[in-house]
């Protein structure tokens, strides 16, 4: 969806960008040297690991497309940007890029032709990555199979479609410098800080963005957006009823699942798939840094919250459940009832304490982040699309209900689930949010 305020803000940036045009970047014409085409095996292996930590493949692979060949649409408030082909194909990929071209793209967000890249490519994070690590990534990428695949044209609104805007954006928001360790902190903390703020670019989704699409530095990991999903606030900023701690966060990042919080879904699913492949110490480092960035604010014992959540699952089904509908406003009482019946017939077979699918027992809904989140976005997406493991992989399956339920029925059941399982205020924007999701779904 296009945000008009954002467009106005970018227009101001465009003017500033025009003023800065005099200092536009120059294209490079140097070809790679033969030495740059030869890579050390260990360096390629290191690059593979760094690539997994940086999720290069996640964005630079289209749906059903070849790895790193690009073409994945990334919705932004300014329109749709397509990830580029970063295989070493000379014509459509980055096969002609020298090591220095690659460094400049990673550190300054400027491509080989001297054009500014959009910060959907998170160079505002990658700028912190050391030269050595960028070179290892270059070695890894340049030894992948070259795939000929042209990147679709971006569909951006004026003035975001004018790249000089980005010169102004960079001047305002880009802190282009390599990571400097904090000597007062442990080596593990520093490794975590280096990864989280750099390659892993956690804040790119989990930190809210300002009107120009830059991360709000004052609210690190306060919750943001990712490809039409809500990227929840982390740790103390998380809406989850049971507070996160280092153990839970490690389990979640390593296995994609934590029994007291839920399952990694949406754009986070491929991220945890990658984190399952890197050395365990890297994930521990990420956890150490992230937990240090947030205070533990809640104090109700977790086991009481878990017991209460499980009790709610038992209470949810059957007419003897305590009548929360009576607390609801009169206008929504009817959808509340419709939602309860749908829940009993469609959801309760699995989402009922003690029940489960062949592979998993679902996390009690009262504990899940999506049901307690500030927006209904993720709950709606899970109901409409379901949850599916990666193609050919085992994993928990929730069928999508986008075909079985009408728009009004989905709204009713999601409003019911929020009222039934969360102590947080009702969502007021379920209907509008669902309209937005339906506009994206192929009919």
């Amino acid at each position: 969806m296009i945000d008009l305020r954002a467009v106005r803000c970018l227009s101001m940036l465009a003017l500033a960008g025009a003023a800065l045009l005099g200092c536009a970047e120059s294209p490079t014409t140097t070809a790679q040297t033969a030495a740059e085409r030869t890579f050390d095996r260990a360096q390629v292996a290191k690059g593979a690991e760094l690539s997994a930590l940086g999720d290069c493949r996640v964005c630079h692979t289209g749906d059903g497309g070849r790895a790193f060949a690009g073409g994945r649409p990334l919705p932004t408030p300014f329109g749709t940007i397509y990830s580029t082909n970063i295989t070493p194909d000379a014509e459509t990929g980055i096969g002609r890029w020298s090591r220095d071209d690659f460094r400049r793209a990673m550190h300054e967000g400027i491509d080989r032709a001297g054009r500014h890249l959009y910060p959907a490519f998170p160079y505002d994070h990658f700028t912190h990555v050391t030269d050595d690590d960028v070179d290892a990534l270059y070695a890894f990428i340049m030894t992948r199979e070259a795939v000929s695949a042209r990147t679709p044209r971006n569909r951006l609104v004026f003035p975001a479609n004018l790249r000089p805007v980005l010169a102004a954006w960079n001047w305002l928001y880009l802190d282009a410098r390599r990571f400097t360790p904090d000597p007062a902190q442990s080596a593990e903390w520093n490794r975590g800080a280096y990864l989280v703020e750099g390659l892993a670019h956690c804040g790119a989704c989990h930190t809210p963005r300002n009107i120009a699409g830059a991360e709000k530095r004052g609210q690190p990991f306060g919750g943001g957006d990712a490809e039409g999903w809500h990227a929840p606030g982390l740790l103390a900023a998380s809406p989850a009823p049971v507070e996160w701690n280092a153990d839970a966060l490690f389990r979640y990042l390593r296995n994609g699942f934590d029994a007291e919080h839920g399952l990694a879904a949406g754009p986070m699913a491929p991220v945890v798939d990658e984190l399952a492949t890197v050395p365990e110490a890297e994930v521990h480092a990420i956890v150490t840094y992230l937990t240090s960035r947030t205070g533990q604010t809640r104090n109700a014992p977790a086991n009481e919250r878990i017991a209460a959540a499980e009790q709610r699952e038992f209470d949810a089904v059957g007419r003897h459940a305590p009548d929360r509908a009576s607390e609801a406003s009169a206008s929504s009482a009817e959808t509340q009832d419709a939602g309860e019946v749908i829940f009993a017939g469609a959801c309760a077979t699995c989402h009922y304490a003690g029940a489960g699918t062949p592979r998993t027992t679902p996390v009690p809904l009262a504990l899940t982040t999506s049901v307690n989140a500030p927006t209904p976005q993720n709950a709606l997406r899970v109901v409409v699309e379901g949850l599916h493991p990666a193609s050919g992989e085992p994993g928990a399956i929730m069928p999508g209900f986008g075909s079985a339920l009408t728009h009004a029925q989905i709204v009713a059941v999601v409003e019911y689930v929020r009222a039934r399982f969360s102590d947080r205020p009702r969502w007021t924007d379920v209907n509008a949010t669902l309209h937005g999701i339906e506009r994206e779904q192929p009919k």
Binding site: G64, I342, A344, G345, A346, T349, T357, S403
Partner: protein
């Protein structure tokens, strides 16, 4: 009483709103084509078509179906006059034990109704939710491909079974 439109005929059903459609089809309407597999929307044996889309009837309560068009395998063809898709399943001998097949056919029918000549990738993606424990998936895929070529259109009228 809830009124359901199944294969173009209206049925008044005396059941609670949260009753799964599968139970009503089998127990109230004596339509035993759709099967109970897992009851959890994980296997697809219960698949039927609602308003043109494949759904798991085991996790679809009848309360959501008022005024909507339900299609089951009983609405496709008869043993004497199977539908083109059923014919293709027979020609390819796509059933082993057969328990999943009604669901497979209904999911495939929803695809062919929307897209009469799907690509192989489209067929695979669309059929992914339905499981066959005997492992006849390759024959099922062949049957769908065969039916896709036989689906009559203005340009290619239905001919006798190709060999």
């Amino acid at each position: 009483m809830i009124e359901l439109d199944v294969n173009g005929r209206r049925h008044a059903v005396d059941a609670e709103g949260d009753t799964p459609l599968l139970y009503v089809l089998r127990d109230h309407l004596a339509m035993n084509g759709a099967k109970f597999g897992c009851g959890l929307g994980q296997c697809g044996a219960c698949t039927v078509i609602v308003d043109g889309k494949a759904v798991f009837s085991c996790v679809t309560p009848i309360s959501v179906l008022g005024g909507r068009a339900i299609r089951t395998i009983e609405g496709l063809g008869t043993p004497d006059r199977p539908s083109p898709l059923q014919r293709a399943f027979i020609d390819e001998q796509a059933a082993q034990c057969g328990y999943c097949i009604a669901g497979m056919i209904m999911r495939a029918q929803a695809l062919l109704d929307a897209n009469p000549s799907p690509s192989d990738a489209e067929i695979r993606r669309h059929m992914a939710p339905n499981l066959c424990r005997c492992g006849t998936h390759m024959r099922i895929l062949r049957a769908i491909r065969r039916a896709a070529q036989r689906v009559p259109t203005a340009a290619t009228p239905l001919r006798s079974t190709p060999t």
